[in-house]
Symmetry: C2
Subunit: 381 residues, 2 copies
């Protein structure tokens, strides 16, 4: 059967499945972005985004991808001669480093894909160097690894550096208490744990970050301007009204479930995925201690090819998983289980994976992955 | 009656009314931006955007507002020490100047709102100064004035300067033949004459512009990267898949009507609006010779207040018109008639305007505006 965009099981590491209520919210023929009606939308978004980020800070909403959000954070904070410390353990940590190098100076700590950073090394750099910004990707989507945010925050506070966290695939799925961890800028994207369409970047911005920003450097990505305008329920430039309406509905759904509940549910599903992989004699890419609760990355055993697994289950069963990105293309696959993903989808995905791996000649006890998930389902009630 | 976002006559100067087919195209629960299905979307978008801009040049599509597009053009082309000539005759021409000043040097020619630029003055600056970029807003949305693009293009070609045109409220509604007029970068927005939701900036980019761009300056707004990726049906960062699907459907609708037909229809409606205003003894803001075919700006006579006209017809009749922006707030109002706007909406709007102006004590022959539009309707068949 050919893949049907309207009817499938969709488990990418973002974009993710969108609730019909959210799609319905976009079914609006017209609404002016300077109208009182849209100001009300922005006001409700302010409350809901502060709830999402667990913060009293301002939260800017930019029409653009998560990368636009990362760009805005780094462009406004860094100038030539100012140093950032970044952690490169995957594609998005690498991107943070590229941004730091573009706008300022960068000390980049590099680790193999799937390995956590060395906290001692971070501490050492911050002791020796004058670091203005520590910027890293909390949940490394490309490798399924969650970096130790509370520990890095502690080191950062000790040395007085600004803390910029790419929480694009963590905020709303893994606990990211912005105020408690004193995160100066935390970035997320609409199409990940929030489960809205792609196209909006959300940034919580502390007073300290606002004060440290450079004037007259950016225009569209001028974070200070975005923050100031949103305080009046406005945006400096035309926002994507339809995406804002979708975001609003997705955040309402998140609040109905409760942030804490969603984080717990996401964790339980992740645990089941990891156990199911183990039952199939498959290895996770990251150290299990650091394995992400929103994305599970599973290595292909030698001789098993991506097209025989991912390609096969897309084509035959209409189930979409994520592959691995360059320079590790074809080495592992990823299951996104953030946002609205439930046990039922994971059950179907592992059933299909069992069929595909068995067909490809991989040895494991048939039915074991699905049985493992069933056990977790029963425990979760 | 309270304003209903789902049921009204919507005549802003963008965003504009969206066709149900376009809204339906967004009703898709999930589609990966690296999927073969989305690559096909990008390929069809490439053909349709080249049709829209009347060009063989690459057309980049950025997730962001029209201002993001203007920013991308100027940030990539201008460095300190390089000069741009800009035309400030309204809010958006002013914005182009702000961008030029931010990234390079700027010679800004300023004219009162509603007045066209002095072509002799442009010629003089280009003769005397080393200008890298001439950048201006083709259709000044804030004043309802269309700047003389073919004439400015001619001067520009004579002196070998790069030509950057903000065509945000002209492309798709007023003739902007990019290749014929040798426009190096032409920018438009999704929510204007194309009649899709806001959130995408479209930029046609010439080879000459690509060669003149600075390396290692921008990240998210790196136009060269966007152009190169789109040649393979890809985007460098996560695009707003849903907005791309909406744009695709809106461009299909535009092509079904035919670009030339849409431009002609838009012109006929604009002509009727201008004649109807005259019938009500109202004055246009711009010189009639330069009056825009996509936005009609009409001055309030002394003593007539914005709230008694625009506020009244929104509240009582569910018809939305645009006001005027700072520093000319309350001095005039604007009727957007781009995209899918037809005679029927203009008819309703002028009927309501007759009621409002009469109630506010303005003297004119009752029924004359609507009768004028009816004459134009008959002529248009």
């Amino acid at each position: 059967m050919v893949f049907d965009p309207q009817d499938n099981i969709f488990l990418l590491a973002g974009p993710v499945k969108i609730h019909p209520r959210v799609l319905k919210a976009m079914n609006t023929p017209s609404l002016g972005h300077r109208s009182p009606e849209f100001t009300e939308v922005n006001k409700e978004l302010r409350e809901l985004t502060q709830y999402l980020f667990q913060t009293k800070n301002d939260v800017a909403i930019l029409t653009g991808s998560g990368t636009a959000g990362m760009d805005a954070a780094m462009a406004n904070l860094l100038n030539k001669g100012e140093k950032a410390l970044t952690i490169n353990g995957g594609k998005f940590g690498e991107r943070m480093g590229q941004l730091a190098k573009l706008y300022g100076e960068c000390i980049e700590l590099t680790y193999p894909w799937g390995s956590p950073p060395d906290l001692g090394q971070i501490e050492e750099v911050l002791s020796k160097e004058d670091i203005k910004v520590v910027a890293f990707t909390h949940n490394e989507t490309s490798t399924g690894l969650t970096n130790p945010l509370p520990e890095i925050s502690k080191i950062c506070q000790k040395h007085g550096a600004l803390l910029v966290v790419d929480g694009i695939t963590s905020v709303g799925g893994i606990d990211v208490p912005v105020d408690k961890l004193k995160i100066d800028i935390c970035i997320t994207g609409s199409q990940k744990c929030i489960a809205a369409p792609a196209g909006l970047a959300l940034l919580s911005v502390s007073e300290k970050a606002l004060e440290a920003m450079h004037e007259k450097k950016t225009y569209y990505l001028n974070l200070k301007k975005h923050v100031e305008k949103l305080r009046d329920g406005q945006t400096p430039y035309t926002p994507s009204v339809h995406l804002h309406l979708a975001l609003l509905e997705a955040l309402r759904i998140l609040k109905e479930e409760g942030l804490e509940n969603r984080i717990k549910r996401t964790a339980k599903i992740a645990e089941a995925c990891r156990a199911a992989a183990e039952a199939m004699n498959l290895e996770l890419l990251p150290d299990k201690k650091y394995a992400s609760n929103t994305v599970t990355a599973i290595k292909y055993p030698k001789g098993i090819e991506d097209k025989d697994i991912r390609g096969f289950i897309k084509k035959e069963f209409g189930i979409i998983l994520a592959g691995s990105q360059a320079p590790h293309k074809g080495e592992f696959f990823r299951i996104g289980h953030m946002g609205l993903v439930q046990f039922r989808e994971i059950l179907a995905a592992f059933g299909a994976l069992e069929v595909a791996f068995a067909k490809a000649g991989w040895k494991f006890e048939k039915g074991s992955a699905v049985a493992t998930i069933e056990e977790h389902m029963l425990k979760s009630i």
